[in-house]
């Protein structure tokens, strides 16, 4: 019975954090894109635009939710449901931290550790193609149909290099369960190089990580692979005919897919919650980072660029200093420090996603498919074969 | 009737029902694609049987056979759908009643 209660608490926590992350991911994206493009981004709704996601949610909820009469009603309503429910379910197998013992309850920082953990996000990614294909088809609109078919073809084409890139670190760690993969990347070479999969002998998985990242861009329909849903191509692709909450479902599904795939990449390649250098010293990194952020906020509060900053920045500064104090409490460190490292790595990958969105132009559709089949798939295959060869020649995981 | 466990024969009966429905769809439907999907349903029912018997004998061999059936079904689906595309291109129809002569 305690298992059920603990699981429900974990699910509630993860769900709350995940939904808040999705909402504020949109704010982060708009701010980072804006600063890349030398403008300021959302600034007016709340301090530095922090209430912008709330305003967007209210706008989307109150928009007219129309059901066009010419669509195939069942599939039109089913498509965003499939897209968003599958996107939200993958987070259940991602481990956020080690096995912990809190208030006498011993549990993993993960909702469910299944033995074939790595295959689960792959299966979900494979099935979530239907959300997009059905959305494009049921809208009864040639632009939607073309956008939906192109997007589905792109997603299934890039599933192949993604899967092959995922298999390579599995050869190094010899397990399919995410927790075992994260535990297999513990330890340090020479005392200070972490044994993450991208650094692991006999074959550091740097190419595998790059192939994974490129395929991840294509799987989540992000720039440079977002031709099927770009606003100035094909009207808006597969979600042309969707409005209000159904449109919001597709966007939520897209951001959820970004978070999912960066979490999977972090666990497989960047060593999940394993810190960058050995334990007692790395536990001081979170408090130092938050301390630096707090001091920076106070500095900007004292030399404000805008009048409101005199009030808002010191408040953020106090919040950051409180976080630094929280992360410095020794009994909590064994829970919070792995969470910090995991969130830092995932945040770094999401920043790379947003950065590339602001920097690169998009591929044309035939360039995109040509790239997948003639370059990325052979690269992934060669990476896998090299990894297998080196693991067979140097067994015992040095 | 409350059972603490599920008897294995229920799985086999479910497999038989699915196979029968697949055979019925294969014989009854007139669109080539639906006939093809009924074939896939029959193959799935057989997979369930293999895995149920693998549980009975506590050996993994049934999983391997089921895996091979799955792979062969995927290859067959690819070639079969390519053939369906060619038929549609040449005859313009997907009803099997109208594809009844070798001459175009």
């Amino acid at each position: 019975m305690t298992f059920v209660i603990v699981s429900l608490i974990k699910i509630a926590l993860v769900f709350a954090v995940f939904m808040t992350t999705l909402a504020y991911l949109q704010w982060v994206e708009r701010k980072v894109l804006a600063h890349i493009q030398s403008r300021t981004g959302p600034l007016r709704v709340g301090p530095h635009g922090l209430m912008q996601p709330l305003a967007d949610v209210l706008k989307l909820l109150t928009k007219e939710d129309l059901l066009p009469p010419y669509v195939n009603r069942f599939f039109y309503l089913l498509a965003p449901f499939i897209a968003v429910s599958l996107a939200l379910i993958t987070i259940a197998v991602i481990p956020f931290g080690p096995h912990i013992n809190v208030f006498g309850i011993s549990t993993d920082m993960q909702i469910s550790d299944i033995n074939v953990g790595v295959l689960f996000p792959l299966a979900i990614a494979a099935v979530s193609v239907y959300g997009i294909a059905l959305a494009g088809w049921s809208s009864n609109n040639k632009y939607s149909l073309l956008g939906g078919l192109r997007s589905s073809a792109q997603m299934i084409s890039y599933e192949l290099p993604l899967t092959l890139a995922i298999v390579a670190p599995l050869l190094l760690v010899n397990h399919l369960s995410f927790r075992a993969i994260a535990d297999g990347q513990a330890g340090y070479y020479l005392g200070f190089i972490p044994r993450w999969a991208i650094f692991q002998m006999p074959f550091p998985q740097i190419f595998g990580f790059l192939i994974f990242l490129i395929s991840a861009f294509a799987e989540t329909n992000r720039i440079p692979f977002d031709l099927p849903e770009a606003e100035n191509e094909l009207v808006a692709g597969f979600h042309t005919e969707y409005s209000s909450m159904k449109f919001a479902s597709f966007f939520m599904a897209e951001y959820a897919n970004i978070v999912n795939i960066t979490c999977v990449g972090t666990v497989l390649f960047l060593g999940a919650w394993q810190p960058l250098f050995p334990a007692p010293y790395s536990n001081w990194v979170p408090p130092l980072v938050f301390l630096a952020a707090g001091i920076l906020c106070f500095f900007h509060g004292l030399n404000p660029a805008r009048k409101n900053d005199q009030i808002t920045f010191p408040i953020f500064g106090v919040a950051f200093l409180a976080l630094a104090a929280l992360f410095a409490i020794p009994p909590l460190q064994f829970i919070l420090a792995p969470l910090f490292w995991f969130a830092a790595k995932v945040g770094l990958l999401i920043l790379v996603f947003i950065w590339i969105r602001g920097t690169l132009p998009r591929f044309r559709y035939d360039q995109l498919m040509h790239f997948a089949w003639t370059f990325l798939f052979p690269c992934a295959l060669v990476n896998l074969l090299l990894t297998a060869l080196l693991v067979a020649l140097f067994p015992g995981n040095p | 009737m409350p059972h603490p466990h599920v008897p294995l024969s229920w799985y086999l009966i479910l497999s038989a029902i699915l196979f029968t429905l697949g055979a019925a769809g294969f014989l009854y439907r007139k669109s080539v694609i639906t006939v093809f999907m009924s074939i896939e349903l029959m193959l799935n029912a057989v997979n369930l049987s293999f895995i149920a018997f693998s549980y009975q004998l506590q050996k993994v061999d049934g999983h391997i056979y089921s895996f091979f059936v799955m792979v062969v079904a995927a290859a067959e689906a690819a070639v079969g759908l390519a053939i369906i595309l060619t038929i549609f291109k040449n005859r313009g129809t997907l009803q099997i009643d109208e594809i009844d002569s070798l001459k175009l």
Binding site: F75, N115, A123, A126, V127, Y130, A133, W137, L145, A153, I156, L176 | H3, P4, H5, V6, P7, L8, S9, Y11, L12, I13, L14, A16, L18, L21, A24, L27, Y28, R29, K30, S31, I33, T34, M37, E40, L41, N47, L48, I51, S54, Y55, Q56, V60, H63, I64, S66, F68, V71, A74, A75, A78, V79, L81, A82, I83, I84, L85, F88, Q95
Partner: protein, 166 residues
Amino acid sequence: MDTVLFVICAIVAIVCAFNLVLQKHPISSALSLIGVMSSLAVLYLLLGAEFMAMAQMIVYGGAVMVLFIFVIMLLNAGTEKNSNKSWFAQIAGLPLLLAFVAVVAFLIRSAVPGLKNVSFGSWWGGTAQNVGRLLFTTYLLPFEIISILILIAILGAVVLAQKEID
């Protein structure tokens, strides 16, 4: 708990299979088939076949059915026209089928005595390690032949689906 899950999945599978046979439009049939495959994946998990459940979703639900849906969308396959089906099949078909299933069920129960009871978690043998070990040792030859079969299928599909060279 096992019984509840089995009954739910079995009912979903049978309803979706009926739907596949009875629906007029191929896309509804395709989605019903995806429903059947998903419920079968859950049943595999109940039978301890965790690798096969995931393989079923990835291969069947994520590749084969996507292919079907692409072909249906590309060919713009419409609803089936109601050509003349025999009245005997329409009236006596379903009862005959049920009788057939009943006979098969009776034969199964009498021919294979001593069938076990399935409870989730009583057999952990269906792991990827076991399947992989058997696949690459005892069944290595069929494995290699199947890879050649897939290669032939790829070549066949590419040749059949390419544009005509006029």
